[in-house]
Symmetry: C2
Subunit: 437 residues, 2 copies
């Protein structure tokens, strides 16, 4: 076994479950030592209010500086009895390594380190690298914003590569140029101190009915958001981005089957891709009010609440959308309180930016196939923090050792050994091309 | 202590909590024996799927027959530590008897029995009596409909007096000529088999948003029900009934304070009485969907449900309203299922019916004050079962030993001994006048 595989397997054998804190400290220390050993630079365990961030710089006095973001924490292993091998045993079977975190994202993390090492060894590293390894990605990156704000000088860079992308169902590398943003709020209506017998229904307003009405003023049957100004700041897709969407390949029937909803809005592949990646949404995550047990009880509930997430697209600003929402709620006579649970910026890096161009070119070399390029992901990642808090212009999620088959977040997570080596090569080629641009 | 008080106190000392079944059997047996001892007729313990009904007939071969309905079960005693005396000790203090069930409705039940006994003793009972004592009133009369259907021949009668009315805050006897009806349903929308990550929100319909929209098509901000035809069958109040409403006395500020809702619809006393007694309602009792725990989770829920009660007024038919509702739901694109939890008919007996006239006249004699007469109650009672299933034309809730002070359903339930004796006299006078009409 070569050093590249051996280092990965040792890393995979270390539990690092952020939700339970299992093995977090030991894994952070092991990562620090690994960086120092492979790259010959000093690495730091940096405290946060939660799990530490592992940080290191490789300064080759180049003109350009790149942040490489990964996380060393993993998802919990439940349901444990569905695993073929213990989740932290890193058993190899049929040219695959089985371990929690193999795909998300320890394989990718170590692959990138070896690529840097190889370039250093060959004296071919011509871009300064800042390595930022988070320990809380799987629990919502809850202390990352604070860390970034406090270290904004140290973290100056021209571009950043995130994790999260891998190989699609046909083995093509994904290159994701951005993320959706998020506004997460909770609406609470509380009209009294206790539920009333429902014979009083003629005398009082019902908070559940009022909240239902208010929700129906926010979004229509087709999913169109009815808040005035909501769509105003949306950046139109360029023709190039529209082409990328068309080239994006999904199997409609498989997707529908996997989601299992009978109330599916679209049948056309192009429409599905467009909606998934470019439509902002107002979604009700949860709603609770009054008596919800078995059978019947006759009350007027005094309180109702709903949790809503708004997925935002470039250049919607979550703070501005929140202001528009408050104006709307006043218009529709909402007499309650609003709790905020999160603001995340959307990002869409230009397909013409150096980091993206280098990513595409290097992917073609290593995988000898067209990469699958997404203008942005359907979901949300802390990418927006780097772009908006640090002013880093270009961000991209790409280079992943995991694939469609990898069972990320599920039992029997695994990667193909071959894909791990390809991720090393992809990183190496990318860094070379990018530094020459 | 005379026999009338002694018999009541012994009855109050017997627990008969329908919710827990505590003492139900013993109390039913004691009631049977008490009827037989006092009235010299045979009484029966009649089985149901739940707690038994105690039934007896006093046939004096009169032309008219009256059902007297009461229940021998009581509410649970919680919170037990707020009672001054143990709830089944029936302690007398300051001319009041403290016991669970004293007001609701064991005092009334025994008072009526003694009135019949007195008339029998004086050979002045000129109306046939059918005594029907339920053991499940406090748990929703769940087996009464079945019993009534199976015994419709035996239960033929000209009129019925129910329990539930007593003395108001000024000591005036209440006479309630009817009840609201009820339609209780649950709407369920289930679009999938599992909740989805909310990055899929653009692709699928959200059952919570759809259910909120559907609710907002059922009822507007002012409480007006938007189902076509909902108001069509409402019987207009007669001028006499309108007068009764105006004469009905409530303290608006006290009522508002007791309900404790800041979203109160009316301030005018007459408007409040009108709304409370004559407006039908569409009320959401409960609504649940998706994630309702702490903080944030980003899902599209696959399922949502809501429980709704419709309070109906004469002559709305709960089964017809249900048909109208189904038509409405189809119009607004409801793609879910409907669970029914209950259909109860509204009742409003004419103020000119013999039973009501006799009740008013006898109340004036005993209480030397104007009774408070309600065209119907704000709530629902099984009265409709007797009127619609048995074809009994006239029904009234009146004659109660309890008052505004009585803490029914609460700790330290009590009645004034004086009001118990007045209930005996009221029943006696009522039966005399009614039989002569």
């Amino acid at each position: 076994m070569d050093e590249q595989l051996h280092t990965l397997i040792e890393f995979l054998k270390k539990p690092s479950v952020s939700a339970t804190s299992e093995g977090i400290e030991e894994t952070a220390n092991y990562l620090k030592e690994t960086i120092e050993k492979l790259l010959g630079v000093k690495a730091y365990i940096e405290k946060t209010k939660g799990h530490p961030i592992v940080y290191a710089e490789v300064n080759v006095r180049a003109k350009k500086t790149l942040i490489i973001y990964n996380h060393y924490d993993v998802q919990p292993v439940d349901p444990i009895n569905e695993w073929k091998y213990p989740p932290f045993s890193a058993v190899i079977e049929n040219e695959r390594i089985y371990a929690r975190g193999a795909s998300d994202n320890k394989g990718t993390l170590i692959a990138r380190l070896f690529a840097i090492k190889h370039l250093l060894d060959k004296k071919e590293l011509n871009v300064n690298i800042k390595l930022l390894y988070e320990g809380e990605e799987e629990i919502g990156s809850i202390n990352l914003e604070d860390y970034i704000e406090k270290n904004s000088n140290k973290l100056k860079a021209d571009a950043i590569i995130m994790e999260g992308a891998g190989l699609d169902v046909k083995g093509r590398p994904q290159i994701v140029l951005g993320v959706k943003g998020l506004l997460y709020i909770e609406l609470v209506l509380d009209y009294g101190i206790k539920d009333l017998h429902s014979s009083n229904a003629p005398l009082v307003r019902n908070p559940c009915i009022d909240l239902a009405r208010i929700i129906s003023t926010l979004v229509d049957q087709d999913g169109k958001v009815l808040i005035e100004g909501f769509y105003d700041d949306i950046r139109q897709l360029t023709n190039e981005e529209k082409e990328l969407l068309k080239m994006y390949d999904i199997n409609v029937e498989e997707l529908k089957k996997a989601l299992g909803f009978n109330e599916f809005r679209y049948n056309d592949k192009d429409k599905i891709v467009e909606a998934l990646l470019t439509y902002p949404t107002c979604n009700v995550v949860g709603f609770e009010c009054g008596y919800t047990g078995k059978g019947s009880k006759t009350i007027v509930p005094h309180k109702a609440f709903a949790k809503l997430d708004f997925r935002l697209v470039p250049d919607q600003n979550p703070y501005k959308i929140f202001e528009l929402l408050k104006i709307h709620l006043q218009k529709v006579n909402f007499k309650g309180s609003i709790i905020t649970h999160g603001f995340e910026y959307p990002v869409r890096t230009s397909a013409n930016s150096p980091v993206v161009k280098a990513m595409i070119e290097s992917a073609k070399i290593v995988y000898t196939t067209e990469p699958q390029i997404l203008p942005n992901a359907a979901g949300t990642q802390p990418m927006g923090l780097f772009v908006y808090k640090l002013g880093i212009k270009d961000a991209v999620s790409a280079i992943g050792a995991g694939g469609y088959y990898s069972n990320a977040h599920a039992p029997n997570e695994n990667i193909k050994i071959e894909d791990y080596y390809k991720a090393i090569r992809h990183t190496e080629e990318f860094l070379k091309i990018y530094s020459n641009m």
